[in-house]
Symmetry: C2
Subunit: 346 residues, 2 copies
C-alpha cells in the first residue's frame, strides 16, 4: 500500500494527463537560498501615479473614468493585436510559425488602490464576476476568437507590475497548449462515460473529504490530488457547465463568496498578501458544442515555507517533471485550519 506521506511517488493530473512528482520526506531540507523581499503593505486608497486608479491618465494619454466598481480597458501593451494578418510560415516542416490574432484587456477589480480580492466584500467581488461574464459574452461574439483566458497575477513575485488589484483577459484566434491538453483528456472521458471528468472527480473528493477547503451550494474549492505548487487549489462548479456564460445569479454570488473565502485563507497562512497566478479554464468558443468541458479555476501560488521562501520550479522541473515537497494533503490541512476572517480584520 503506497504511503503518501513517506514514499516518493508520482500522481496523475486528470486534466492534462501528465504526472507530477511528490517527495514528502523532503520538506525537512534546510533552505539557504533566495529569500523574497517582503513587500510593504501600506498603500494609500488612491495613488496619483497608478495607471489603474480612477481619473488618472494612462501611458497612451487616455484618462480613466471615475469608476465606482470594476473597470475594463484594452491593455496599453497588449501581447496580442486585433489587427494582424493570419499569415503562415513553413520551411521544410522544421520551422513552423503562424500569426496569432487577439485582444488583451485589463480589469481593475476596485477603484481602491489598497485592496485585494480577500479584502473586498462578496458584493464587490460579485461585480467583478459580472464583468467577467459580460466580457466573455462580448468577446465570444467575435467569430474569429476561439479561446478566452481570464486570469490574475497577484504579487510582485508573480510578475505583477502594479499592486492595484487587477486581472487580465487574453482572447485569441487559436487554442493555447494547456487548453488543448485539458480538452483532450475531458473529451476522452466524456466519450467513454457520458459525464464530465470533473463531475466524477468532484463526487469522489466530496465523498472522501480529505482535500476540500470550501464547499457551498454551487462551488467547491479543493487541493487537487495532483497539485504541483505547494498550496495549489482549484475551484470547481457543482453544475457541469462549459463556461462562465451559463452561471445564474445565485451561482455568481456563490463564486464571489468562494473567491473571498479561499483568498482569505491564503492570506492567513503566512499573515501576508499571498501571491498567486489564478485563472479560469473553460471551453473554447466559436467551435461547436463542448459538453465535455467543465468550468474550473486554478490557483498557482508559489510560497512554500514562509512569506518570503517560495518553491522554485527550475532545473529538474523545467527539464523533466514538476516536483513538490509537502503533500497535497498536508497543504489541504493547513488551508482548512485557517480562519475565514482576514488577519488584518481580526
Amino acid at each position: 500500500m503506497l504511503n503518501f506521506s513517506e514514499q516518493p511517488h508520482k500522481r496523475k493530473n486528470l486534466l492534462t494527463g501528465e504526472y507530477i512528482l511528490v517527495s514528502p520526506h523532503r520538506s525537512k531540507r534546510p533552505w539557504q537560498g533566495q529569500v523574497e523581499d517582503l513587500v510593504p503593505d501600506n498603500r494609500p486608497h488612491y495613488d496619483p501615479t497608478c495607471y489603474l486608479c480612477p481619473g488618472n491618465t494612462r501611458a497612451d494619454g487616455t484618462v480613466n473614468p471615475e469608476y465606482t466598481d470594476s473597470f475594463v480597458f484594452i491593455n496599453d501593451f497588449s501581447a496580442l493585436l486585433e489587427d494582424t494578418h493570419l499569415d503562415i510560415f513553413n520551411e521544410e516542416d522544421l520551422l513552423q510559425a503562424e500569426a496569432e490574432r487577439g485582444i488583451c484587456k485589463v480589469i481593475s477589480f476596485s477603484p481602491r488602490h489598497d485592496l485585494t480580492l480577500p479584502e473586498m466584500s462578496p458584493r464587490e467581488i460579485k461585480a467583478v464576476v459580472d464583468l467577467w461574464q459580460r466580457e466573455y459574452q462580448e468577446l465570444s461574439a467575435r467569430e474569429w476568437i476561439k479561446y478566452i483566458q481570464i486570469f490574475e497575477n497577484k504579487g510582485s513575485v508573480m510578475g505583477c507590475s502594479n499592486p492595484h488589484p487587477h486581472g487580465q483577459i487574453w482572447a485569441q484566434s487559436s487554442t493555447p497548449v494547456e487548453i488543448e491538453k485539458e480538452s483532450e483528456q475531458q473529451k476522452a472521458y466524456f466519450q467513454r462515460t457520458g459525464r464530465t471528468i470533473l463531475q466524477d472527480y468532484l463526487d469522489l473528493e466530496l465523498k472522501k473529504d480529505e482535500r476540500i477547503i470550501v464547499n457551498n451550494a454551487h462551488f467547491v474549492a479543493l487541493v487537487p490530488f495532483w497539485a504541483a505548487w505547494p498550496y495549489e487549489t482549484m475551484i470547481i462548479s457543482k453544475r457541469a457547465v462549459a463556461s462562465i456564460l451559463e452561471f445564474n445569479e445565485a451561482e455568481k454570488e456563490d463564486l464571489a463568496k468562494t473567491l473571498q473565502e479561499l483568498t482569505i485563507r491564503y492570506d492567513n497562512i503566512f499573515k501576508t498578501s499571498f501571491p498567486y497566478s489564478a485563472g479560469m479554464h473553460q471551453a473554447p468558443v466559436n467551435s461547436g458544442e463542448h459538453p465535455e468541458w467543465h468550468w474550473h479555476m486554478h490557483f498557482y501560488p508559489p510560497l512554500l515555507r514562509s512569506a518570503t521562501v517560495k518553491k522554485f520550479m527550475v532545473g529538474y522541473e523545467m527539464l523533466a517533471n514538476p516536483q513538490r515537497d509537502i503533500t497535497p494533503e498536508q497543504a489541504a490541512n493547513t488551508l482548512k485550519q485557517q480562519a475565514t476572517v482576514h488577519y488584518k480584520a481580526q
Copy 2:
C-alpha cells in the same frame, strides 16, 4: 508573408510538439515590477561554511575529501530514494499514483568556491564532462533506472541555494513528462524519415545561419526557432548520438569548449553572472535501442532586460501558453555580438 519582428505569432517546438507565443512589438512595454537583488560577486576561494568546499563537513556528518577536480556524492536531501517499494494506488481511475524510485546526486564542478563554468578553463570543464559520462554509465548499469537527468541550477534567482559551482543528477525508475514528449516527437520523425529530427533541423539552421551562436567541429549552440525564454539556447551534437556515453575524447573536449564559450557570452550580455537552469536531454536507459534520440542540452535563462529584470512565466503562461517578448532572432544577435573573453578577464 509572416513578419517575425512585427506580427504576434506562434512557433512550433519540434521536440515537444507544443507552440510558443511570440509578441515582438511588446518589448517596448515599460517595467515597473519586481527587480531582482544583485548578488554580490566577491566570494572567497574557500568558504568554511560551504557544504561543497573540499575538506568541509556536510549536514549528515560526512567530511568532503580534499578533491582537486570535480567531486560527486548522493544528495543529503534527495527528492528520490533508492530504497522504496514500487507500490501503486488507484481509486476509480480518478486518483492515480505510483511510487517512484531514484537516486539524486550532487556534482561539485570545482574545488574553488568562487568560480562558475564560464570562469573555468576548457580543461577543467572537460573533467566535469568526464564525470557526467562516468556517472551516466554507472547509473545506467542499474536495470531499474529508466532515465537520468543531468542538470545545473545557476544563480539564486533559479533556486540555487549554494553559489559554489555545482550541478545535479536525478536518476529514476520511470520516464519524466518532458522526456515522454520529446521521445514521441523524435520517434514519429525517425519512423517517417530514418533520420533524427535534430539532424535535419541542425542542417537547416547551419544553412540559414540566423540563430547560430557557437559552431565547432562537433557541436553547435543556437537559439532554437521555438525558444520560450528570452535567451534560451540549445547545444546539439553534430553526430546523432543517443547519449553522452557515445562521446569520444575529441567530442568531450569540444563540448567543454562549447560550454565555456556559450556561458561566457551569457555573462557578457549584462556583465553579470548570468543565471539559468541547464540540462541534457538524452535517451531513456534500459529500454532498448533509441536511434530516434539525439543528444542535446537546453539552457533556460530568465533574464530579459538587465541583470535584475527577468521574464516572468506566470498567469497566461502557466494557464494557457508560454509567451515571449523579444524574438529568438533578436536574442541570437545579442548573443553573437558578445566577446568570447569573459568580462572579468577583459
